[in-house]
Amino acid sequence: MATLRPAQLSVEVTAPGSAAPAAKSAPRHFVLVRVTHWIVAFCFFALLLTGIEILISHPRFYWGETGNVHTKAFFQIPIPSSRDMVQTGYNYVLPDQNGWSRYLHFEAAWILVLTGLLYGIFGFFSGHFRKNLLPAASDLSWRSLSAAIADHSPFKRPGAGDASSYNVLQRLTYLLVVFVLFPLVIWTGLAMSPAFTGIFPATATLLGGRQSARTIHFFVSIALVLFLIVHIVMIFLAGFWSRTWAMIAGRPAAQKERT
């Protein structure tokens, strides 16, 4: 299988004379990757829940600097609202939960950003990004990529090699999430802060304004939710407890992968 590179794991197992095969003595995931993974997962859940809660107080989106019920909407989500300002077509108003939602949204955002910084510094200096996420140049040819996509049929269980190294599609997806989607969702979030944009006006102006930032924030959040859905489906297909346990304890729990 083209995407399996057991040689890459050997760099993590350098004890000379070790008889154990690489996949058995090296943890599947670094402890820092595991800890930051679950902190981010917890924060993302809080951000998603509170984000939806904040969204329903004004389920209209705009492009540019300003936007309100007097201006043309870019689009409106056809859901009821927690305020009566937006005409939703529903004859009721949902309870307002913005107070605690906003408190929790920003607290979870802080924890996610600080955790992400720690992960980023670790990933850069430990070689985690280079070894585990950066695809090999040879894997990026159209031929390899199409082979990997064909090999990724949802009805096909992953081979044993997939348990110890990410394939090229996983690598590209994780790079997209770590280096594009999360930075973008944080940036667009900051671009909605009246004080932060006063300090760094470019955070808002480069995106076309505050309302553009809010709209991009929404779409990037959708992209992250889509990633999460695929991520969880893949974990189920690969063996839920084995893969989940690997992200908790570092090693897969599957019987055949134990010594």
């Binding site: 993590e12 197992v13 350098t14 004890a15 070790s18 003595s25 090296a26 943890p27 670094f30 402890v31 820092l32 904040i54 969204l55 107080s57 004004h58 209209r60 600097e65 300003t66 936007g67 309100n68 019920v69 007097h70 201006t71 305020r83 009566d84 300002m85 913005n98 107070g99 605690w100 906003r102 408190y103 929790l104 920003f106 607290e107 979870a108 955002a109 802080w110 924890i111 720690l118 670790f122 430990s126 909605m192 802060s193 009246p194 004080a195 932060f196 944009t197 006063g198 300090i199 006006p201 808002a204 102006t205 505050r210 309302q211 809010r214």
Partner: protein, 253 residues
């Protein structure tokens, strides 16, 4: 010990040291420079404190973005918070707010009460800034008024002052800000909008505009300002209707 576990130990150790020293330094700075907001306790206190403290550390004197006249929202926008519907306000409105007073008291040397013509006689400033609501919508207008700092300097703020609490004629609407925001050059006692008198739906005759924070801190129908050293004197909500309703005290996000 294998290299892998030694390396793991080093990284875990470094991470823990960095994390702990970061928290230690932050707590020290926060205590020294008053970087903890009044709602800095409780389960959401960490997030609020990080936001407020970081804004005060990196942008204590920064200015909210201002816009060219071409970006002024047309039609002008006013949210649903209207004036009191009682006879007293109607009478004030019918008499062109001749009897409107802004009382300034608390920790000041010369407590005073100002009429609207008096406020208009002070050096007038204008700003084209955005009001952003916590709900998500926003609009831009040109606001005319006198910086709150001018009036505070007139009445003589005492050195122990830390916060300003300000009240609407609406009995349940009040907010509080720290002295950085109170003395900020864009914090206006606003009596005009888009070249005319401030319309009543937009908060006329007098509104506190504070463009570095969300709209809910820009209290309409302003009648009373008091300077204090301790928000606890104003009850559990710390002189902020937002806090009373479960919202963050600092709305700079």
């Amino acid at each position: 010990m294998t290299d892998i576990s030694r390396r793991k130990l080093i990284f875990t150790g470094l991470g823990a040291v960095a994390g702990l020293s970061g928290v230690g330094i932050a707590a020290h700075l926060a205590g020294k420079y008053g970087l903890i907001p009044p709602d800095g306790g409780g389960i959401y206190g960490l997030g609020e404190t990080l936001t407020y403290a970081s804004h005060r550390l990196i942008g204590r004197h920064s200015l909210a973005r201002e816009f060219p006249p071409s970006q002024i929202s047309n039609p002008a926008f006013a949210n649903e918070i209207g004036p009191p519907l009682d006879a007293a306000f109607k009478h004030l409105q019918a008499t062109n707010f001749a009897d409107w007073r802004l009382t300034v008291d608390g920790l000041v040397d010369r407590p005073a009460s100002f009429t609207l013509p008096q406020l208009r006689s002070f050096p007038s400033r204008s700003q084209i800034t955005e009001i952003a609501c916590e709900e998500g919508w926003s609009h831009i207008a040109e606001w005319h008024g006198v910086p709150l700092s001018h009036v505070l300097n007139l009445v003589g703020v005492q050195p122990q002052a830390r916060y300003v609490v300000y009240f609407s004629i609406q009995p349940d609407w009040k907010e509080s800000i720290d002295m950085d925001d109170a003395m900020h050059p864009q914090t206006f006692l606003t009596y005009g909008m888009n070249g005319a008198e401030l319309p009543v739906p937009s908060g006329g005759p007098l509104r506190l505009r504070i463009p570095r924070q969300l709209g809910y801190k820009s209290v309409k129908f302003l009648t009373h300002i008091t300077v204090t050293d301790d928000l606890k004197k104003f009850g559990k909500d710390g002189g902020s209707a937002a806090v009373g309703a479960g919202y963050a005290w600092y709305a700079g996000i």
